[in-house]
């Protein structure tokens, strides 16, 4: 019987400094067989081991359509993420997963998609955005609203051009406060949504960002006519085991790690979860 707590070994093959405190790690499994069998859906996460320091959950920020490696973007925060930031290309880490339900990709097909992201919250959405762009014909219009505190805090800058060039895809960037040389929008994400007034017909909104952004974004989306089942978010909690056993991430009788982390606003309301 397999040891469910034992990770696969993976090597860091590239590190990209996204912002002063966020790095994207590109990982390749040491075992070719694992590399071939590691299938995941956008929105799933892995437990990331830095040996000697511990394990922490991070969403997979790459798209399953782009094979050969996986990517995780990590903000320098706690014990594991700090240790991770000290690592170099060539170092070995542990990966356990993939875990969680991921985004309901099948339900999103043939719909207009509105992505709403704040800061590092773009990481799980990036997986789905790139998945959609790689299967462009399966989805209708794609609108991305991406905000950050300052322009320095915007992640995945190197991909914006590709997203803008993709067919029927719009990217709106915003920063919280006015900056010199900044030509895109200014204002917090919920405000920008109020200005942009994205159409709600045949649409789903996929939202991820800091709790405060999510809290103020939900009512705006509802006002714009999005219904609760078509507003989707992915929750963050201290998920230790990823297996629905260790008891940390429960909300109601569900475990964020096993039954989530992706939930619709309708589901969150059903178990009295306050965004």
């Amino acid at each position: 019987m397999q040891n469910i707590y034992q990770p696969y070994l993976a090597g860091i093959i590239d590190i990209r400094q996204e912002t002063p405190d966020i790095k994207t790690f590109k990982l390749k499994f040491r075992d070719k067989e694992i590399e071939g069998s590691f299938n995941y859906r956008p929105g799933q996460f892995v437990e990331f081991s830095v040996f000697g320091e511990g394990e922490a959950p991070f969403c997979i920020a790459s798209s399953p359509t782009r094979k050969g490696s996986i990517e995780c973007s990590v903000k320098r925060m706690g014990k594991v993420s700090q240790a991770l930031h000290e690592l170099d290309v060539g170092d070995t880490v542990g990966i356990r997963g993939p875990y969680g339900n991921g985004f309901p990709v099948e339900d999103l097909k043939a719909k207009n998609l509105l992505f709403v992201a704040g800061g590092i919250g773009l990481a799980p959405l990036r997986s789905l955005i790139n998945y959609c762009l790689d299967n462009r014909d399966d989805f209708k219009a794609v609108t991305i609203v991406n905000g950050a505190r300052t322009s320095r805090d915007l992640v995945y800058k190197s991909e914006y051009r590709e997203w803008e060039k993709a067919g029927d895809t719009k990217l709106h960037l915003t920063v919280d406060c006015r900056e010199e040389d900044w030509t895109c929008m200014v204002g917090v994400v919920p405000r920008i949504l109020e200005q942009l007034k994205p159409a709600c017909r045949d649409s789903s909104a996929i939202v991820c960002g800091p709790p405060v952004m999510i809290r103020y974004t939900m009512p705006v989306l509802l006002k714009l006519g999005f219904c609760a089942p078509s507003i989707i978010t992915t929750l963050e909690m201290k998920m230790k085991c990823g297996l629905g056993k260790c008891g940390r991430c429960s909300i109601g009788n569900l475990y964020v790690c096993k039954d989530g982390p992706v939930f619709s606003l309708e589901q969150l309301r059903a178990f009295q979860y306050e965004c």
Binding site: S49, G52, E55, P211, C246
Partner: protein, 337 residues
Amino acid sequence: MPSEKFFVKEDLYNKLEELSKEFEIIGPRELPNKGIFYQSLKNTRDLYLGEGFAIEPIKRFFLKPSEWIFDERFRENKNILEGIPLPADKRIIISVRPCETRGLTLLDKVFDSDYKDNFYINNRKRTIIIGLACNKPAKNCFCTSMGGSPIESRGMDVLIFDMDRGLIAEILTDRGRELFASIGEGLNEGQRRLLKEDKEKKKDLVEKKLSPPEGKELDKIFESDYWEDVSRPCIGCGICTYLCPTCHCFDLVDERRKRLRCYDSCSFPDFTLEASGVNPRPTKKERYRQRVFHKFDYFKKNFGENLCVGCGRCIRHCPVKIDIADIVDKVPGLKKE
């Protein structure tokens, strides 16, 4: 169909002596000035067959307080992970209370479900359980309100009844039958009647009662101030969770190159504290409510049973006398019979 056997204590001690060549024998032992503890018995005559209750549950023989999961090593310029070989030696745990074994059947639902914990499952498979029906439940016991009873045999291979003139063993599984093949004799008519009467009597021995709320009803008072009131005395020591036969929350931690799975507790503030500083269960209110809801609401919704066997340990050993049975019984605004 269970069969029964009658023998005297001396026969049992001798049998255990014989079995100890093949099995590790674990059972309660009375330690002077300390209490009763389940231990590996070097001398099988140390086995305690009295009415007292062990301080710790048998949980730790299945779910170790700290389980060594793997080693990370560096060999020939390469990182490798080395799994820990699972112990194969067979064990007998004897004189186990019915509530404890029920606790294991509940832990099975967590660790032997979709993602299977091989450490736990291996420990379960290599262990034969011989129970002892309770002659005298303690004042904090409330097993009958949790679907158990002093004579409940679920999860056991053999259940022993301590009668005045000897012991009667109810053999429940093939493993148990094999073990007890050469000890005692079948019951005569009189003994059979005695056992029946004894069972009838023991069924109603437990005095503490509570009416557990149905899951859906507890939902309604999630936000109630009641949780703040009842958790006020709590000092967050976590003893209730460590001594609970069913509490199983754990942490995964690295110690140098070892990874360990260790007991953790929902009553500790840092249990859910995130690196960002956010804590979804910031005060005792949320933490104690989590314990009650996990036991009497969430687990019931997920697995159909309360995650509590009514052993009373958390009440007996709480330094501030928090009584979970009383708290659940007095939940406000719920229908009472």
